[in-house]
Symmetry: C2
Subunit: 342 residues, 2 copies
DNA sequence: ATCGTTCGTGAATACGTATTCAAGGACAAT
DNA sequence: ATTGTCCTTGAATACGTATTCACGAACGAT
C-alpha cells in the first residue's frame, strides 16, 4: 500500500509542468492555460492529490480556521449555537477548532494552544477571558469575540442578547398580570447574562414601586432550578411568579411546582430565558424570552470578518433584542402582545 | 502596535544561540544545557514567542488534530458525547476540528477538507461514510472510526452500544411484565442503531412466540416520537407497551400519552434508549437503556491511538453493552434487577 | 599523553506550498 | 523588420520549524 503523501511536485513531474503551475491550478487565482490546467488536473486525479492546507497556510498566513471556545456544552441552548455556528463557518469556507473548557479558569490556559495553530479568529461562548490574554491576542492581530458574555468595561468585542431589556420585560409582564410576590432564580453568579437579567428585572420592579422580591441562587442547571424552586415554594410566603435566568432552570422549577401540585399558571407564573427546543414540549409549554440565535450568529460573523480584514478595528459590543414567546407557564394580561423586548 | 509574528529565529538572535537550539528547547525532547535553556526561555518570554504549530506539523507529519464529523447535534445525546470527546482529546494533548454535516450525503464531501488539514485521525459520529472515502483514508494512512454507527460488512472500525442486545432486553422486559400488544417507534431508517435495536427487539419477541408487533416510523426527534405515539394510541387496538428507538422520541411519546390522560406505566409502558439527562427529570422519569458513553469514548480513543501508531491495523468493531436504567415509565416485574444488557 | 566517548551546539536541509521575477512566445501595430 | 504588450510558464525563494550531520569541548580510562 502506497503510503507516500503526494505533493504538488509529484503532480508537476507527471504532468510535465513546474510545481508553480500546479500551485496556480489549485489556488485557481492565477491564469493558467486551459490545456495545461487539464493536464495538471488529470495528473492530480490520477495521484489522488489534494493540497496540504498546512503548508499553504504557512505562506498565506491564513488558516481559515476559527477557534471556538465553549463552556457549558450540556446546557441545551449551546448545541444549537454550536451547530449553527459551525454550519455558517463551513458555508463560508472555514473550519472550527473546538475547545471545551470549564467556565472560569481554563480559557486563559487554552488560548495559547489555539494561537499556536494560527487561527484566524476566536469565538468564546459562555465564558470570558482575562485582559492580559485579550492584549496578547490583539498584539498578534487575532480577533476575539465573546458570544453571550462580556466583561464590563473591558475592551473586547462581544455579541449578546439584550438581557437587561429582557429582564425588564419580564418584570412588566409579571406586574401587569397582577402578581405581587415575585422571585428570581439566578444563573451562575458573575456571569454577565445572569447579572444583566437580574439587573433589568430588579431595576424595572423598583421603577414600578415594587422593590422587594425573593432571590435564590442557581447554576443554570435543571437540578439547581428544581432545588431553588423547592426552597421558594416551601416558604410561608411563597412567590406567585418566578423569573428563572434560563429555560433549563425554569423547567426544573416547573417540575418542582408540579410535584407540589401547584397550578400553573393560575397559582404560579414561571418565565424562563433562551427558548430552547424543550421549552415548547407539551410537558412544559414554557413562556420565555427567546434569544435570537440566528441574528446573534450573523452579528458575530460580521464582526469577525471585519476584524480579520482589519485587526485594528476598535472593539464593539452588539446587543440584540430578545422576543417574548408566549406559552402556558405564565399568566399574561390579554392586552400584552407578542413583542420584541425593546 | 507590533504586528510582526515572532519566530524561533528572532528568539535565537536575541538569545545569541542558533535556531536549532531554540527548536530543541521548545520540542524539549533533545538535550540542552540548563544555562542555555534559560537564556532561550528568557528571550522567548520577552518576545512573547510561541512555536508555530503549522510549521511544526509540516515537518513532524503530526498535527495532533483529530477531525470530528458530527450530524444531529441537537439530539441531546450528542452534546454529551462531544463534550467528553473533546475533553479527552484535550487531556491527551490533541485538539478537535469539528465538522457539522447532514446525516447522509455531506460526509463524503466534508472529508477531503479534513484531510487537507492533515488530521491525525477522524471520528465520525451518527453518520457513515462511503467505501471509496474509507479507502482514500486508508491509502493516506488516516485512521477513521465510526462512533455509534457502522456499515454492515464494510471494512471500517466502529464503536457502538450493543444495540441488538438492548433491543432484546426491552423485549424481555415487556413480555415479563405481561404486556401483550407491543409497539416499536423507529429511528431514522437505515441507521445501524435503529436497525439493530429493532432487530434485537423483534428477534427476541419471535423467539418467545410473539411475532406480531406494531411499527411506526420516526426520525429520532421529539416531534416524530410524539406524532408516532399519537398514531399508535389512536388505534382501535392501541399498544400497552412502546419501545422507542431513542429517549427523545420516548419523551414525545410520553407527552402524547399524557395528553390522552393515559396512565403511565399502568396502562402503558414506554422504554427509551440512550439515557440522556432529561430522561431523569421528574416530568418524565423515563425507563431506558443507557448507552455507556464513557466506555464507548475510551474504546474509541484506544482504537484511535493504536491506529495512529500503526495505520495498517485491521479494522475492528467494538460493541459495548448498555445498562437498564429503571425509572417509572415502564411496568417491570419485581424479579427484574438492574442489570447489564448482555 | 592518547584514545574513545559523551555532551552540547550550529550549519544545512527538508517539509509542501504561494509568490515574485524573469523570460519566452505570440501577436498586433507601426 | 521592429517594437511593445499580453499571456503563460519556470526558477528561485520564503514561510517557520524539526532533524541530521559534523564538530569541538570536556572528560574518564588507559
Amino acid at each position: 500500500m502506497l503510503r507516500k503523501k503526494t505533493s504538488s511536485n509529484d503532480v508537476a513531474r507527471i504532468a510535465r509542468v513546474s510545481q508553480s503551475t500546479v500551485s496556480r491550478v489549485f489556488s485557481d487565482s492565477d491564469a493558467v492555460r486551459q490545456k495545461t490546467r487539464d493536464k495538471v488536473l488529470a495528473a492530480a486525479r490520477k495521484l489522488g492529490y489534494a493540497p496540504n492546507a498546512l503548508a499553504r497556510s504557512l505562506i498565506t498566513r491564513r488558516t481559515d480556521i476559527v477557534g471556538i471556545v465553549m463552556a457549558d456544552m450540556t446546557n441545551p441552548f449551546y448545541p444549537t449555537v454550536l451547530e449553527k455556528l459551525t454550519q455558517r463557518l463551513q458555508s463560508t469556507g472555514r473550519r472550527a477548532l473546538l475547545f471545551n473548557v470549564t467556565p472560569d479558569r481554563d480559557v486563559d490556559d487554552t488560548l495559547p494552544l489555539l494561537l499556536q495553530y494560527q487561527v484566524d479568529a476566536i469565538i468564546i461562548t459562555s465564558a470570558t477571558i482575562s485582559s492580559e490574554m485579550t492584549n496578547e491576542c490583539a498584539r498578534r492581530g487575532t480577533p476575539v469575540i465573546l458570544f453571550n458574555r462580556y466583561v464590563p468595561g473591558a475592551e473586547m468585542s462581544a455579541v449578546s442578547c439584550d438581557n437587561v431589556a429582557g429582564g425588564r420585560l419580564v418584570a412588566d409582564l409579571f406586574l401587569n398580570a397582577g402578581h405581587t410576590r415575585l422571585a428570581y432564580i439566578a444563573g451562575r453568579k458573575n456571569t454577565s447574562t445572569n447579572l444583566d437579567r437580574e439587573k433589568g428585572f430588579g431595576e424595572r420592579l423598583r421603577e414600578r414601586g415594587c422593590p422587594d422580591w425573593l432571590y435564590e441562587p442557581g447554576e443554570y442547571t435543571y437540578e439547581s432550578g428544581f432545588a431553588a424552586a423547592q426552597r421558594l415554594l416551601a416558604r410561608n410566603d411563597p412567590p406567585d411568579a418566578i423569573f428563572c435566568a434560563n429555560d433549563i432552570m425554569a423547567m426544573g422549577a416547573l417540575d418542582a411546582a408540579r410535584e407540589l401540585a401547584i397550578k400553573i399558571p393560575d397559582a404560579l407564573s414561571i418565565i424562563g430565558f433562551d427558548d430552547i427546543p424543550a421549552a415548547g414540549w407539551p410537558a412544559y409549554r414554557l413562556t420565555t424570552i427567546q434569544q435570537p440565535v440566528d441574528q446573534m450568529i450573523e452579528a458575530t460573523l460580521e464582526m469577525l470578518d471585519a476584524r480579520i480584514k482589519d485587526p485594528d478595528l476598535a472593539p464593539v459590543h452588539r446587543w440584540i433584542p430578545g422576543a417574548l414567546i408566549k406559552r402556558c407557564s405564565a399568566k399574561i394580561r390579554d392586552a400584552e402582545t407578542t413583542s420584541h423586548a425593546k
